[in-house]
């Protein structure tokens, strides 16, 4: 069996276009993890995230020939995922408070504290957990665009330029949307009695 693990995404795509199934499988193997992670942060439910990630790969497969090799596969695929998440939100409204939040119910085993957090006293630790829970709730109140932009920037750590490519809007719009999303989160936190001084 061929080993494609050293091949670049671009090369894998060329092989997949030529109907090399193993090359496409390598592409799926390589990108399914982060893709699923991105989607689950967006839609909340594991099952829905699985579905959307699957659908995204189907779209990749169907459009392999259209992939422009001067762009990164990662950005292209992110864009497909982003659009599917936005579609999902449009269809399902904003009812996303589901399993992912359950996962984020701060089971201590699931969250590995940083060195600083380990030294925190229990009271402060509880407070932090409450803040993070509220932040998750705040995210769920955002519009699809705002939520996505927060995820892309704060969780995926992307530059404005990359976000602009994925969301297909100018860099200035990214900054503006990001700022509004952040303000909404802060407003939500304040409404629930939290201020920056309490964190």
């Amino acid at each position: 069996m061929k080993d494609y693990s050293e091949y670049s995404d671009s090369k894998l795509i060329n092989l997949a276009v030529a109907k090399d199934e193993l090359a496409f499988k390598e592409l799926v193997s390589r990108h399914r993890g982060w893709a699923f992670g991105f989607v689950i942060k967006n839609v909340g439910q594991k099952e829905t995230a699985w579905d959307i990630t699957q659908e995204a790969f189907v779209r990749v497969y169907k459009n392999l020939e259209n992939f422009r090799h001067d762009a990164s596969f990662n950005t292209w695929f992110h864009r497909i995922l982003y659009n599917l998440c936005i579609d999902h939100w449009r269809k399902s409204g904003r009812k996303i408070k589901t399993e992912y939040q359950d996962e984020l119910s701060w089971d201590k085993k699931r969250i590995s504290p940083t060195g600083d957090q380990r030294r925190e006293n229990p009271e402060k630790s509880t407070k932090r957990r409450e803040v993070l829970e509220l932040l998750q709730q705040a995210l769920e109140t955002l519009s699809a665009q705002h939520r996505n932009i927060i995820i892309l920037r704060e969780m995926e750590g992307m530059s404005y330029q990359k976000i602009a490519k994925i969301t297909d809007c100018p860099k200035g719009t990214v900054m503006s949307r990001l700022h509004h999303a952040r303000k909404k989160i802060i407003e939500f936190m304040k409404k629930h009695g939290y201020s920056s001084s309490e964190i």
Binding site: S29, I40, Q54, V58, Q136, S159, H179, I186, I199
Partner: protein
């Protein structure tokens, strides 16, 4: 992005500054503004702290889906997509459905002759027989299953509406959930239409579906209180077989 003439900065520049995404000119402007405006400095501090907290949400591990089941399902979906784009057969399932529905109206002999019913019916019967024996031969359906089993427990399992095509409805068998069928907005499966009780969906469908990973329901219609379902199941060689199911009250389903 530029600053306004009023001397105030556009609020979003604070986010740009926080993310180190401003050009040197705007960066300098924001920096100066922050030094001179304690209120804005406070806002900036809030942005900074909540931004850090949001990043912490990302530290929660998300389990990567296992490759083999993920790949298997992906392959099925790709096959379904590809099957969906294949050219229509000489007699499409919709045409067959129409012919079969017509047969149930039992027109008069004169009407049959005028409407060309007889040749149409003959053609349909031949086509159905081919599909039926093909299904038998490939093991998708066996004769023992071809019996009517009216039961209120009949469940065609979990249905997920595909985003790509309203025609493509993947029926999975892992997690029985009748509610999901209703989510497809198909009133036929509510068993009631116009306050009349309709026949229950036949268990044979479930049995057929259970024979394979998935099937595609093309359409479901009702006439004279009978639900007619046209669906496709994937054969072992990947080709799709059209199955038309009509739950006659005292006969086997039509395949």
């Amino acid at each position: 992005m530029t600053t306004k003439n009023t001397g105030k900065i556009e609020p979003e520049l604070l986010s740009g500054f926080l993310d180190q995404e401003l050009d040197p000119q705007n960066k300098q402007k924001v920096q100066t503004y922050l030094e001179q405006n304690p209120d804005t400095r406070e806002q900036y501090k809030e942005l900074q702290l909540f931004s850090q907290q949001l990043r912490e949400l990302n530290s929660i591990p998300v389990q990567t889906p296992e490759m083999e089941p993920f790949w298997k399902e992906l392959n099925s979906r790709i096959n379904l997509e590809e099957a969906g784009t294949q050219p229509e057969p000489a007699v499409s399932s919709t045409e067959l459905l129409k012919i079969i529905t017509e047969t149930r109206k039992q027109p008069t002999t004169t009407q049959k002759i005028i409407s060309g019913f007889v040749p149409a019916f003959t053609g349909a019967a031949v086509a159905l027989a081919v599909v039926y024996f093909f299904a038998l031969a490939t093991g998708i359906l066996d004769k023992n299953q071809a019996t009517v089993n009216q039961t209120t427990d009949s469940k065609v399992n979990q249905v997920r509406n595909r985003n790509t095509s309203p025609k493509n409805i993947l029926v999975k068998t892992k997690q029985p959930d009748h509610k999901n069928l209703k989510n497809v907005s198909n009133p036929l499966l509510d068993n009631k239409l116009n306050n009349k009780t309709l026949p229950q969906p036949d268990l044979n469908i479930e049995k057929i579906i259970n024979k394979d990973d998935s099937c595609v329901i093309e359409r479901m219609d009702t006439e004279d209180d009978v639900i007619t379902t046209v669906f496709k199941v994937k054969d072992k060689d990947g080709s799709m077989i059209t199955v038309i199911w009509i739950p006659f009250k005292d006969a086997s389903p039509t395949i």
